[in-house]
Symmetry: none
Subunit: 196 residues, 4 copies
């Protein structure tokens, strides 16, 4: 297993980065939150950026794994897509901190953001491949599976993020209870027309 202190630092870093964003996050704060000296972080990570990138990669890895596991149980593309949405939203609900970071830091021209987008691109490819299979097997019908993948990703992600922040502003914490609502909405968007 990974070095104990590294784990502690990772935990603390997610909290702090999610709370403040990359630039506003202070290494001091991360160190304090982790209960280690600032030097200790630098003993394990070359820089703030490297720490952040490590974090993001791990986060995307977890999301991918989680979604892949959900898909693996299903046979037909439409069931797989359903499972994908379900897993994606639940993952974001359970890992709100990561979700915040994901959208906050996904876009931008900094190197770390570019690197990060590569990971997102991979995740989008996963979605796209499900769509593609559906098309090939005659289940789905769409002209632009790549754009559709982005749109679905955006819908599923922003629903959760918006909910997180709106609940935060009302200081309620019962987000898990609202998961079905969000899943249902995105499922409808994808599988049924809004129009009667």
């Amino acid at each position: 297993m990974r070095h104990e202190k590294v784990e502690v630092i990772f935990q603390a870093a997610v909290e702090v980065f999610a709370e403040s964003g990359f630039d506003q996050a202070k290494m001091d704060e991360i160190a304090q939150a982790a209960g280690v000296a600032k030097g200790t972080i630098y003993y394990h990570f070359k820089s703030k950026e490297e720490l952040f990138v490590g974090l993001m990669n791990e986060g995307m890895e977890k999301l991918s794994d989680c979604v892949r596991r959900g898909i693996a149980l299903k046979k037909s593309p439409s069931e797989q897509l359903e499972a994908l949405l379900h897993a994606h939203i639940l993952f974001f609900v359970k890992n709100g901190k990561l979700a915040k970071l994901l959208l906050n830091e996904a876009f931008g021209t900094k190197e770390r953001q570019r690197q990060f987008r590569t990971k997102i691109r991979e995740y989008l490819n996963l979605i796209e491949s499900v769509l593609q299979q559906g098309i090939e097997q005659g289940e789905f019908q769409m002209a632009h599976p790549r754009e559709m993948a982005s749109a679905i990703f955006g819908a599923a992600s922003v629903v959760v993020l918006q909910k997180i922040y709106s609940l935060e502003e009302n200081q309620s914490e019962e987000i898990e209870a609202t998961a079905p609502t969000m899943i249902e909405s995105v499922q409808q968007l994808v599988f049924h027309p809004l129009i009667k």
Copy 2:
């Protein structure tokens, strides 16, 4: 009409903020890009934050206006929703800089971000009201119009953002040509099931 210098500063600020994000953007750089002295910015704006907030508010205003104008021409909610998506995507395509800022700075706990989210909330209300009318007039059918509004907003925004950055990485600039692809995709998502 607004003071000439203010306009110049606004223009420059959008560029710089979009390129670097709020924190990494330097007032020096904005001043240089605007061709004014740094002090001049502070003569017109109290702070970096105020400049940014002014910018974002104006941006959201423009987006709202643009969408509202699109809707106004239509009668039925479904036509209105169609027009809304169309206008939203075209606006983001035409104002890529603003689009970047929008998603980059929409989430976070800083005061400026909270303020900004208020504007987004208003925009989401606009979408929601179209959905609501559709329900009332028996055109639409959905359990959670609020969540649906978020999902639609996310789908339409992320499609464009993802496209912008993916084109940037390939150094092509022909994003306007791809607008129909994106509009079509989101329209399908909203109006037709993916499933045959």
Copy 3:
């Protein structure tokens, strides 16, 4: 004339760099000594290194000018060499701080030191050209004017440095009084054999 603050910073920097050497010198200390804020130094100089290099260049420039002026008054190479030694030693005596920096920072593989050595090389060329002329005019006789230039430079410089530090340890300050002693010694080394 040069900007007032720049001048003040230069003055302070010579003091501090000479006292502590490049690495041990703190920008804080220089700022305090100059009576300006640390930021002011960085407003005028890009980095500690740039400040230092500027300083050294100016120092070598002054030394060169001073020696050149001494030489200019003389006709024959031997008179010129005499004047050169005289001027060099007096300059070091008057500008002890600079003399310290000169020897302390002349050697090393850092970029700033390499740059600095280029200036010293130029100064050595000046000495060498006097020697060369002496040879051509039949006044001097030597096999390796380049090495001789280094040797003379070393003799004249180290004599003064050693004296500065030995006086410092005895807390006496009367170095100017000892200048003739040093000049005489180096003159003898160059013009008369030690051997009777």
Copy 4:
């Protein structure tokens, strides 16, 4: 005999200190170069400073021994002085790393430098005593043997240093071949007038 590890550390330390100077040299780098753990250095030396001082003392010791051995074979002061110059220059040529350190770290107000200068003072006394004997025995003639000792030390040292760095910049390594040139030059400076 000295502990094996101590020897290894010394070797590595000379390299690293000579390459980077005292301040820029990193204990990590020395440890790596020596192939031991950082803690091991601290097991054998109390501090970076102590390691450095030990090094310098040993270096000066070796120089002194080498020169003393050269002198011991000669009888007359002028032969002794000749041998001294010869030994000094050859020692610097053979121990370039040490030579660099010697001049780089000889001057300055830090405690380690003061300590080091004590050793140099002793070496200068050795030179001075040869001069003094020459005067007493009627071979030499000079007003200020102490200053003359400094001047000779400076000439002999700087000649080599300047050559080392100028060859380094041209990436040639044949310094040993140039030793006679340098010895000859300093010998002339000391024993024969430049003037015909």
